[in-house]
């Protein structure tokens, strides 16, 4: 199975390595037509304003929306979560706006406040998940149709709506591939 990783800016290399390690084939996506051959798309961490502007300028914004409407699964980490949110507090930056969530950017603080924490997520088994939060956002509000899967410090950091999954943190910076495997199972549903 081919899974795209949006490779405009950010930590796309780490997602590719993780997906390849899970037995799928990662494909770097920089042009709209490259989306035609993939069953799912990962939008990596990076700078959401940079990625959003490049998506608009190089024609990826509309194409991704069209592919998601056709049933392509999407997983957004950190910046990817911001880009998938309908509402971004205090920002009018370009976005896909596909998920019924309200997101706050740099919500835990600046780099000084970035942190790692162990997190229990029932859906992903008994073993706690090591989560790395870097200038991370969180979900301030989620609609009824959004499945809230985990919180840290009482803030929503994993959520799913239909075939869209978001995490505020970076599993690709650890060795734990449980979330990538979950995303692959979502694609197959």
């Amino acid at each position: 199975m081919k899974i795209g990783v949006l490779a405009l800016q950010g930590a796309f290399r780490e997602h590719c390595l993780m997906l390849d390690g899970c037995g799928t084939t990662a494909v770097e996506i920089r042009k709209p037509e490259e989306l035609d051959e993939v069953a799912g798309l990962v939008i990596p961490g990076g700078e959401s304003t940079t990625i959003g502007k490049l998506m608009v300028e190089w024609g990826l914004m509309d194409k991704i929306k069209a592919r998601v409407a056709q049933g392509m699964a999407v997983y957004g980490t950190c910046a990817g979560m911001i880009l998938l949110a309908k509402e971004i507090i205090d920002s009018n930056q370009p976005r896909l706006g596909l998920m019924d969530i309200v997101v706050r950017r740099n919500a835990f603080g600046r780099q000084r406040e970035s942190f790692e924490a162990d997190m229990a997520v029932p859906e992903f088994g008994a073993e706690p998940l090591k989560a790395v939060f870097i200038r991370a956002p969180y979900i301030e509000q989620a609609s009824q149709n959004v499945n809230v899967m985990a919180r840290v410090h009482d803030k929503i950091v994993i959520a799913r709506q239909d075939k869209m999954l978001v995490t505020a943190f970076h599993p690709e910076l650890t060795k734990n591939d449980v979330i990538h495997k979950y995303f692959i199972s979502m694609i197959k549903e």
Binding site: R30, G46, L54, C78, F115, E116, L173
Partner: protein, 293 residues
């Protein structure tokens, strides 16, 4: 919950990859950089070209300048402190800056020692001309490396020399047997464990950006081809004729470095590039790349 771990420090650099970090001296310039798609800005009192022209001792920027730039943008903000000047670094950390550049662009404050960067919660980026220098800085706690190039010249040749040197040394290292690695580490004056790690990974253990002389979209794409993870543009944007267009063009060129058609498109009608300096006309004692130990 743990803060200031090496994973968190190096992790921010991972998020900056494939992006462009731009030198800015005012909140207005910072907003232009953010609008153009910069993934971070470097808050400075003067860009390297002006530091070079002014001469004298170059120091950390006034905290007011850094704070005003932090207020103006939502992207990460970096700031420079002098080599070895750990008090400047403490001051910058206390402001809440996201990355500190222990930089040869400023006049060194210590002629023998760099800062013990492990003592800080905020991550550091440092310049390097070769593998040994890069690994010494990482050993001291740097979570990100950049080529030194020759700052403020608009001439990419030194940055090319430095990334080619690092990549060539990594390839050489990978061909060595273990007993040869011990002597290799001694010869490049780098910590053995880090040399072993580079041999295993086939790359530096942290992100490595290009810096020092990048002035055009083609320069940025060249550095990405040679193995850099992203681009610092110092004087190249705001010393050019049309900073907005040039900044946007360099951002696109860094993403699409492998596509000459797109590079041609974004390189059109950019106005005057910054005036460049031939490296051979710079006296030895004025070469910033020779600062650092």
């Amino acid at each position: 919950m743990q803060q200031g771990t090496f994973r968190v420090k190096a992790g921010l650099a991972e998020m900056l990859k494939g992006g462009v970090i731009m030198d800015v001296t005012t909140p207005e310039q910072a907003k232009i950089a953010e609008e153009a798609g910069a993934c971070a800005v470097m808050a400075l009192e003067r860009v390297p070209a002006d530091i070079r022209a002014a001469g004298g001792v170059a120091r950390m920027a006034d905290p007011t300048i850094i704070l005003r730039i932090m207020d103006a943008v939502t992207i990460p903000v970096m700031a420079k402190g002098r080599i070895g000047h750990f008090v400047e670094a403490q001051i910058i950390e206390s402001l809440g800056v996201d990355y500190i550049d222990e930089s040869e662009v400023l006049t060194p404050a210590d002629d023998k020692y760099h800062i013990d960067k492990h003592q800080f919660k905020v991550p550091f980026v440092c310049g390097a001309k070769n593998l040994g220098e890069a690994l010494r800085r990482i050993g001291e706690g740097a979570a990100m490396i950049r080529t030194k190039g020759e700052p403020g010249t608009g001439n990419v040749v030194e940055a090319v020399k430095h990334i080619r040197m690092v990549m060539s040394e990594i390839r050489q290292l990978q061909s060595l047997t273990n007993e040869e690695v011990f002597t290799f580490a001694k010869n490049i004056a780098a910590p053995l464990e880090l040399v072993m790690e580079v041999k295993r990974l086939g790359r530096l253990p942290v992100v490595n950006f290009a810096a020092g002389g990048i002035a055009t979209p083609a320069d940025a794409a060249l550095m990405m081809h040679l193995g850099c993870d992203g681009i610092f543009v110092g004087s190249g944007v705001f010393k050019s004729g049309d900073p907005v267009r040039r900044a946007k063009a360099i951002v696109s060129a860094t993403t699409y470095y492998n596509d000459p058609k797109i590079l041609a498109e974004v390189s059109r009608d950019l106005g005057e590039a910054m005036v460049g300096i031939d490296i051979s006309t710079i006296a030895d004692h004025e070469r910033m790349q020779d600062r650092g130990w």
